[in-house]
């Protein structure tokens, strides 16, 4: 049984990664958005390093959030439209594992590239050097939380024609703690404080999301697909 439950996870992970690879341009759009907006900020705000450094942490997090929000909407949309989501719902598999595979694929194609590209943004927003490592750690955990909780919203709104706004309203409150502790991790580090406590809270949020979100997504899909 454990081996076969895993097969649902890896089958969906591989499939979604393959789908993302075949549509590279589309899959890269959150990353491009992330980089593009952050090149504009020094132009519109101020190119002065000391003033930019004050807001850098917050801006990076807001952009990471918006970039994820843009992409999470389509997490189940195409599967819903072409009927493959229905095939999953009526398969004798345990739902949370394949869904976790899908969410993992989403993080690998959005959250991970964002995290890896973030030092570049740190450079453009003149983030102090002490902030880089905390930024990488907190973004890796935080974007995973974004993908997981965003999936719940995407599952709840999948049957709606224009669920985008509703999705944002639904998941935004859940994103608040992540963004608060994420920015705290970076700003603590810049101020020379111990940045591990806020990172630990992020880790706890991530652990809770991994455990609960796939179950919530499965429940939400069962409810929405009944219409």
């Amino acid at each position: 049984m454990p081996q076969s439950t895993n097969s649902g996870f890896s089958a969906w992970l591989k499939r979604d990664l393959l789908l993302a690879y075949r549509r590279r341009g589309e899959a890269a759009s959150p990353l491009i958005f992330f980089v593009m907006v952050s090149t504009l900020i020094p132009l519109v705000l101020t190119p002065e390093p000391t003033r930019l450094a004050m807001v850098a942490a917050g801006l990076i997090w807001i952009m990471a959030l918006l970039a994820t929000l843009l992409s999470v909407e389509g997490l189940f949309a195409s599967d819903y439209q072409d009927g493959s989501l229905e095939q999953l719902l009526i398969s004798p598999q345990l739902l949370p594992m394949p869904l976790l595979g899908k969410i993992t694929a989403h993080w690998l194609t959005t959250g991970l590239p964002l995290t890896l590209a973030s030092p570049l943004l740190g450079l453009m927003l003149s983030l102090p050097t002490s902030g880089y490592l905390p930024m990488l750690c907190s973004l890796a955990l935080g974007t995973a939380c974004f993908s997981l909780t965003g999936a719940v919203g995407a599952a709840l709104t999948v049957s709606l024609r224009k669920g985008g706004l509703l999705l944002s309203l639904l998941v935004m409150p859940l994103y608040m703690p992540v963004i608060i502790f994420g920015t705290a991790t970076i700003s603590y580090a810049i101020d020379g404080l111990n940045w591990l406590p806020p990172l630990a809270v992020l880790g706890a949020l991530f652990a809770a999301s991994v455990a609960l979100c796939p179950l919530a997504v499965a429940g939400a899909l069962r409810v929405t697909s009944a219409h």
Partner: protein, 219 residues
């Protein structure tokens, strides 16, 4: 004791937003039988199939599988069932071979726990006339060929109960007769089929189930 019907549907009803879409559906299906659900467009054929597949929850009534209520044997029922819906669940950016492999894996799920055998996949695609197209992305294929990719599952599956929603859509004449042969073969092996179609079928043990007369007239 093979007297017990494979599937027994008792007083099934389905409402959506206080609209009664299906009412008082009674249906019994033995091994080796095929039921063709008929009815006008919008009479609830797809809804009935989706209720049978458990994708929808009925608002009243019970489905019995081999004499047991579905709630007791849900896992076994789902393992023995195959559903090909109105949308063929074909991903346009994947090739025919990748699509079929993924469908078979999803269907098998916990039942086999292993990946589908590549020879079986190739043979199934060849059987439905897609032998030259296995490595072509599905966006380059026609609607009928998409349907054929989905129908290739019928070559591989070990399921007993087949629910096919308009399987003949966009399929050419040869394809239709081939599919009929496959259905007959499945029935002879003790399987059972419920399908919706507007085609006239020439199969043994075929029964028609008319929705318009059973579910109450449309007002």
């Amino acid at each position: 004791m093979s007297q017990l019907p494979l599937l027994n549907v008792d007083n099934l009803a389905f409402e959506r937003d206080d609209d009664c879409l299906l009412n008082n559906v009674n249906l019994s299906l033995n091994a080796g039988e095929i039921v063709q659900v008929e009815g006008a467009n919008g009479s609830g054929k797809t809804t009935l199939l989706r209720l049978l597949t458990t994708a929808l929850q009925p608002s009243a009534g019970t489905i019995f599988y081999k004499g047991r209520a579905l709630a007791e044997c849900r896992y076994q029922y789902l393992s023995d069932m195959l559903y090909i819906g109105h949308q063929p669940a074909v991903k346009l950016t994947l090739t025919a071979e990748e699509n079929l492999r993924w469908m078979v894996n999803t269907e098998a799920g916990v039942k086999h726990g292993s990946n589908a055998d590549p020879h079986g996949i190739a043979a199934a695609l060849a059987a439905v006339g897609l032998s030259g197209y296995t490595d072509v992305p599905c966006y380059a294929l026609s609607a009928g060929q998409h349907r054929r990719v989905a129908l290739a599952r019928l070559m591989i599956t070990t399921a007993t109960l087949w629910y096919l929603d308009e399987p003949f859509t966009a399929i050419d004449k040869q394809g239709v007769s081939f599919l009929e042969c496959r259905l007959q073969e499945h029935l002879d092996q003790g399987g059972a089929v419920v399908l919706t179609s507007h085609q006239d079928l020439t199969l043994k043990n075929l029964r028609n189930y008319s929705l318009s007369s059973q579910a109450g007239q449309v007002t």
